[in-house]
Amino acid sequence: MSTAAIGSETGFEAVIGLEVHVELSTQSKMFCGCRNEFGAEPNTHVCPICLGMPGTLPVINRRAVEYLCKTGLALGCTIATDSKFDRKNYFYPDMPKNYQISQYDMPLTTGGGVRLPSGKLVRLNRIHLEEDTGKTFHAGGHMAAAEYTLVDYNRAGVPLMEIVTEPDIANPEEAEMYLGQLKAVLSYLGVSDVKMHEGSLRCDANVSIRPVGTTALGTKAEVKNMNSFRSVVRALRYEIERQAAALRAGERVVQETRNWDEGRGLTYSTRSKEQAHDYRYFPDPDLVPLTIERETIALWNAEMPELPLAKRERFLREHGLSDYEAGILTEDVVTADYFEVVAQAAQSAKQAANWLLGDVRRLLEKHELTLATTRMRPQALAELIRLVAAGTISGKAAKEVCDVMIATGQAPGVIIEQRGLAQTSDTGEIQSLVDEVVSANADSVASYKAGKTKALEFLVGQVMKASRGKAKVDIVRALLLERLG
């Protein structure tokens, strides 16, 4: 187990384990044929089975099993050829059967780990498959005080995999790296939307601290309700400091569940009776044990795509990118694939990376689009890069063209034509602009002639401005020098 000191002055180090719940992006739910879709009208993707009607029975969604196992294979886990589903019994209004079908002592995978870019391996304990619950809306705050509670069962029965780490994470930043790397792998596999804000990726943390140099684990608190990577980091920082402060004050850390309050920036005890829960797990008699053939596992393995770390290594090697560029471009598979098409078609990995990490990113944000949703094709972006390299348009004009491309998906040539953005080499036209600028800026001309060569750059800029960026800068410079003699 590797840990790191929070700070030598505190004398404590943190030990963190994460439990990540990931909704799988299968077509249908875990145990029935209802559509698995986020954001639909409440209670429209429901049927007698996922509503827990009397007499209904679950049937395992094979695709969900495949998605989980592929995740396991990507993370070096051992796939269980024999597995089973169990019932986790507890009463909750968003759970139609008042038990959740989950996996208790025979999870689909064990072992494995997530390799961080730093090289550190965060070991996994297990990945198991279960069904998601519905969503409750308490009118008037929490359940006890609510005047009434509304339940949306669209999410009830959505396939959910729970990925549990060993307590290998040493600090909040490492937790964020772990989540980033996990998210990248899941996105590459296409097994989940991995959207934390939509709840398709949810993270709970077990946090404890101990004096630096000791090996026994301290009493842990379970922190829940963290809705973004940023809130995970903030919540963990807060919780570690809270525990350290308690110990320094001679108090004890209580084993409990604590909720992260994003607004107030603190964790608070839920004072739930959860610790006292006895879930009375037992094998679900409605389902037969799950067996997975070795041939099937081999088949899934053969379908494994190139994974983020391998791709990152290859980008460094083949495209000569920086660590930073390769890291960001391989965060999700859409960006990575987009980059490769642009780099190939533009014959310049450097330019492709510059554009994607710079202007394209900024303009996508401006239009509230992503590479997956914009109509700009990577071939078109490559074309734009080639036009700049060929001197057909200026770098400045190219930004304007890119803006329109992202919004409309039009080809760069069309936009340049419509907006008259092509650079001009017409010396007659440029000459008249040079004449205008020279006569309008007598001071600068005088300065230049007095030996202040910087004044030339000012005059070049004025001519460029007058041409709305269309004049070729080397021609402008040549004509100015000639005129100023």
């Binding site: 009397p54 019932r87 019994n89 009463f91 008042n98 037992f282 409605d286 389902l287």
Partner: protein
């Protein structure tokens, strides 16, 4: 008595319309209700619509199905689309099912005409039908006595000759015991032979649907309709369904019939008169050509204890969904949602259901799970093994279905353990998942009792074949008219 297959022939030949058959069955069943109270609800509109459909098909010369026009009754544990389905419980008193169970769908597709939903012990927990939340059902052979349970309503209405076929469910004997009490044939198929989809769960690893019928042929035909793999039930097994009617035999030449040593000792000590009746039944099997062999089921005596851990454990989880949130009866809200759950369940469940939920919750609790639930599963495996060994030396097992004939209402309702003991001879087969049936075997003091015949898994055809041969030779002895049927005949 008119059997289902006789009715079907009459309808197919145009001697009787399906509408007439349904109307007569409804009229007769309704006229007996004051004495028997076998039905929670009649479904005349559904019945007549289906009967008219069948008559149209018959007139058009089309195949209307294996059960075309036969009036049937369905235990109120089976969901029927658009109909109230209560499972005999207050908590589902107003539950109108949005879908039909697979067996009901198959029966209706085969032309069966459902005339009503029959009474039962609440959530199938009981052996006398007295645990119905609504009213007890009575025995057509003596209305002061119980019809057995939990499928008591189905047994009573078939026993009273109102309908030739009814659907029941058997978890530990709930088809076989009432069939025995009401002088009809009751078949519990192999676990996995018939879909459980849409059958309200009591104990999922034990529950099976099965026919309760006037004779063995009706049972064979009905089982043929409802058996088979269902993609909606993972525990239903995907193996071909034999032609059960074609497997019916008239002799038992070459068949080895196992007689269970431990059961014979038990029955002799309980009731020598009943033991004598069963001995005569075994002799009849011998006279049909069977060879009797003694077999042993050394762990069967632990069946009851095993069953009363596994079944309540499963039921405690299966019945958790009845909380008033989504369907069924909801106690007046006020307080938080958990208080609503508690009040709903306190008011909605009867004593026996609560008793089993508590037993099962306890058996699954941390610290007790290994000692109770896990150990019970191990004994279950040993009981299965006993049967495997027994069937190495015989083709079917014959033995008692019950330890006494129908008892009087109230006789055991204050003594849960005495009631549990009613299932002594039927529970081991349930735990082993084996097919078993009860076929009428004679009378004790004017009250009918049944002979149980058991077969290896998925060998219902062998079991039905043997029962049919036995039924042919003994029909004269048991086909007496039940007393309520005599009354009905004289008044209608």
């Amino acid at each position: 008595m008119i059997t289902g297959h006789e009715l079907k022939t009459a309808i197919a030949q145009g001697r009787l319309s399906a509408v007439e058959a349904a109307s007569q069955a409804l009229a007769r069943a309704q006229s007996l209700e004051p004495q028997l109270r076998a039905y929670i609800r009649f479904t005349p509109e559904r019945a007549l619509a289906q009967a008219r459909r069948i008559d149209d098909l018959v007139r058009a010369g089309e195949d209307a199905g294996a059960l075309a026009g036969i009036p049937i009754a369905v235990k109120d544990i089976f969901c029927v689309e658009g109909e109230i389905t209560t499972a005999g419980s207050r908590i589902l008193e107003n539950f109108r099912s949005p879908y039909s169970s697979t067996v009901v769908r198959k029966l209706e597709e085969a032309g069966a005409v459902i005339i009503g939903k029959t009474n039962m012990d609440e959530f199938a927990m009981g052996s006398s039908c007295e645990n119905s939340a609504f009213f007890p059902t009575r025995n057509p052979w003596d209305p002061t006595r119980v019809p057995g349970g939990s499928s008591g309503g189905s047994a009573s209405t078939v026993g009273a000759w109102s309908v030739p076929i009814a659907l029941g469910t058997d978890t530990g004997g709930s088809i076989r015991e009432p069939a025995s009490f009401c002088n009809i044939v009751g078949v519990k198929p192999t676990y996995g032979r018939v879909s459980r989809y849409g059958m309200i769960a009591f104990a999922s690893s034990l529950d099976q649907a099965g026919p309760m019928t006037a004779d063995v042929r009706d049972a064979a035909i009905t089982l043929g309709v409802i058996a088979g793999h269902d993609p909606l039930d993972s525990t239903s097994v995907d193996i071909p369904v034999p032609d059960y009617a074609a497997a019916l035999r008239s002799d038992l030449q070459g068949m080895r019939v196992g007689i269970v040593h431990e059961f014979e000792e038990q029955i002799a000590s309980l009731d020598p008169q009943l033991a004598e009746l069963y001995r005569k039944a075994y002799q009849a099997l011998e006279q049909l050509g069977a060879r009797l062999v003694e077999v042993h089921l050394p762990h069967a005596r632990y069946g009851l204890a095993t069953y009363y851990l596994i079944a309540p454990a499963e039921c405690s989880s299966n019945l958790a969904r009845y909380d008033g949130a989504r369907y069924g009866v909801r106690a007046d809200p006020g307080g938080d949602v958990y208080e609503m759950f508690e009040r709903t369940r306190a008011a909605g469940f009867g004593d026996e259901v609560k008793r089993r939920i508590v037993l099962g919750t306890y058996a699954l609790s941390a610290g007790y799970y290994d000692a109770y639930y896990v150990r019970a599963q191990k004994i279950r495996t040993l009981i299965k093994r006993d049967f495997d060994q027994a069937f190495a030396g015989c083709d079917v097992i014959a033995g008692p279905a019950v330890s006494c004939p129908a008892f009087e209402l109230g006789a055991k309702s204050q003594d849960p353990v005495a009631m549990y003991l009613m299932d002594y001879f039927t529970i081991p087969m349930s735990l082993a998942g084996l097919p078993a049936l009860s076929v009428p075997a004679g009378y004790i003091g004017g009250l009918p009792v049944g002979l149980q015949i058991v077969a290896p898994a998925f060998e219902e055809h062998v079991m039905l074949g043997a029962a049919h041969a036995y039924e042919q030779t003994t029909r004269h002895a048991w086909a007496a008219t039940p007393p309520v049927a005599q009354t009905a005949a004289s008044t209608s």
